[in-house]
């Protein structure tokens, strides 16, 4: 596994240089404000990853993580690219995630996939995977219903009760969103109904210049940077308008690369301490209560 600074220096010094292998992950805590860079990825899937089983796909992801110095990721949705999954499919995808995490417990945590369109089922699935299982967060919630519907309220209440974050898919597409697809405005609506909820916009609209403004005054909404082109200026504007504490790195692998999304932070004209927060410090802060509750190392 590579230290991020060593990696970039090595790349820029020339391809013939042998990359120095860094020490394995230590056990030292990192608040995100100092110490070594520790990259935690909030937004990843097993879809579009090579491999026939969840374990094989996770092994492939770990290889790629090691090449870029990603310490840990939060995995959700399994293989699914289905926009209309049934409850059985939700269960199957959550089982796949738990298999992948079980195979690499020091590199991944699971996040439960559910939908307000199937509320009773979703609450049972939350209990199975999070309350009574190994998972540590909710989402990426994506399918079937916008996140401002009343059926999201019991889900948000579960998140608040267990002090864990929700990762919510949203977009603000130039040609209009899909039916049932959330927008940053929907996230804000939900967040205002639940002031203690901590909710992350999975894509910050894609149109980040609009979405950052939309969420700016709602302090319990965070800007996820995953799953869009690495357009220059995204992270600088997010830090300027929201503060680095509200900006969270995620990749959206396998549809995206780790590289293009890390580059949004690494290439941004912001301070090193802000980069540390975005690349891992903020996510660890959000997850610390649930990780401690479950006895996991932070």
């Amino acid at each position: 596994m590579l230290n991020r600074r060593t990696l970039l220096k090595s790349l820029c010094a020339g391809y013939s240089m042998t990359l120095v292998r860094a020490e394995p992950w230590g056990s030292s805590n990192d608040s995100g404000l100092g110490g070594n860079m520790r990259i935690w990825d909030q937004h990843s899937h097993l879809a579009a990853v090579p491999g026939d089983t969840p374990e094989e796909r996770m092994a492939f992801l770990v290889k790629c993580m090691d090449r870029l110095g990603v310490e840990r990721l939060i995995l959700s949705q399994g293989y699914s690219a289905d926009m209309h999954p049934t409850p059985d499919q939700f269960c199957e995808e959550n089982d796949r995630v738990m298999r992948a995490v079980k195979a690499f417990p020091d590199r991944a945590y699971g996040s439960v996939y559910l939908s307000p369109a199937y509320l009773d089922f979703s609450l049972q699935e939350f209990d199975r995977c999070v309350r009574d299982g190994p998972m540590v967060s909710i989402g990426e919630i994506e399918a079937e219903a916008r996140c401002n519907v009343p059926e999201m309220d019991p889900i948000a209440e579960r998140a608040v009760a267990m002090n864990l974050p929700i990762l919510q898919h949203e977009f603000l597409k130039a040609g209009g969103n899909e039916p049932g697809e959330s927008s940053p405005f929907d996230v804000v609506e939900l967040a205002k109904r639940h002031p203690k909820l901590r909710i992350v916009c999975a894509h910050t609209g894609g149109n980040w210049e609009l979405a950052i403004r939309a969420i700016r005054s709602t302090k319990n909404v965070y800007a996820g940077i995953a799953g869009s082109d690495p357009t220059s200026g995204f992270v600088e504007m997010a830090v300027r308008e929201l503060g680095a504490e509200r900006v969270i790195y995620g990749s959206d692998v396998g549809g995206r690369s780790f590289a293009s999304q890390i580059a949004k932070v690494e290439g941004a004209n912001i301070s090193e301490s802000d980069k540390k927060l975005i690349l891992g410090g903020n996510l660890r802060r959000l997850l610390t209560p649930i990780l401690r509750m479950k006895g996991y190392q932070v």
Partner: protein, 262 residues
């Protein structure tokens, strides 16, 4: 050493970018070990005085490039007397190639003027860079939505232009894979990695198309430069194929004379 085949000078029309001052762009590229960068101009997308765009591009490359920036002039074949712009690019500005933006200039690749332009460029031994898109359609301003270039006719046009040397820029995943592969196998056609996506995506495409046709392109400053750099690292490729992407393939495409002229 890196040859970056896809950078732009001047201003993106809808946003200021870190690196849109040429001195800043050059400093960034130097910091990242780029030895040569093939530079087009954002002005070439929308300006009608293309001759003026190309003069400014050449001046900026010479003033700030310190031997690094190689200008690729914009040509809009829907403008009157566009052939004179091609002549000036080569004879006056000493450019080794041109950069096209068909979706911003309002023509399709089955338009006879496109074939005529390719023939003229290949007769002059100029490299043709074809930008397939400039921005994700989902994030464009509603007042100016521009779809990616339809390349369904590209293979046919390439086949009818035997001496053509072409590079496809900004190959978004919206472009059909079969059409993309057909274009690459129709002639001396290359592609670059700025918009290659997916986990270990660069490692994947060298299994889908010949490694010798894959070039390094960052699309800086519209994209963060580090994206392309780190994608190569994520690919897990060995040092030899990395070197091919970073440098060797581009050097072969542009040729030693053009490579040394700036």
């Amino acid at each position: 050493m890196i040859i970056d085949t896809n950078v732009y000078l001047s201003r993106w029309p809808f946003r200021r970018l870190e690196g849109d001052e040429p001195a800043d762009l050059v400093a960034k590229l130097r910091k990242r070990n780029v030895a040569q960068a093939w530079a087009g101009s954002f002005d070439g997308m929308l300006h009608r005085d293309i001759a003026g765009v190309n003069i400014r591009l050449t001046q900026a490359c010479r003033t700030y490039g310190q031997g690094m920036l190689v200008p690729f002039g914009s040509i809009n074949p829907k403008l009157p007397d566009w052939q004179e712009d091609v002549r000036r690019c080569q004879e006056e500005h000493k450019m080794p190639g041109i950069r096209l933006h068909p979706n911003y200039h309002g023509y399709n690749l089955d338009d006879p003027v496109f074939a005529e332009l390719l023939k003229l460029a290949s007769a002059r031994r100029m490299v043709v860079q074809l930008a397939l898109c400039m921005e994700d359609v989902r994030t464009q301003t509603p007042l100016m939505r521009v779809s990616p270039v339809d390349i369904s006719h590209l293979a046919q046009v390439v086949e009818s232009t035997p001496d053509l040397r072409m590079e496809l820029l900004n190959c978004t995943s919206n472009i059909g894979k079969e059409q993309y592969r057909a274009a690459l196998s129709a002639g001396d056609v290359y592609t670059e990695i700025s918009m290659v996506e997916g986990v270990a995506g660069v490692g994947r495409i060298v299994h889908e198309i010949p490694l010798s046709r894959v070039l390094f392109g960052s699309y800086y400053p519209f994209f963060y430069f580090e994206s392309a750099l780190l994608k190569v690292q994520e690919s897990g490729l060995d040092e030899a194929p990395k070197k091919a992407i970073w440098e060797d393939n581009a050097r072969r495409l542009i040729g030693p004379a053009a490579s040394a002229s700036f």
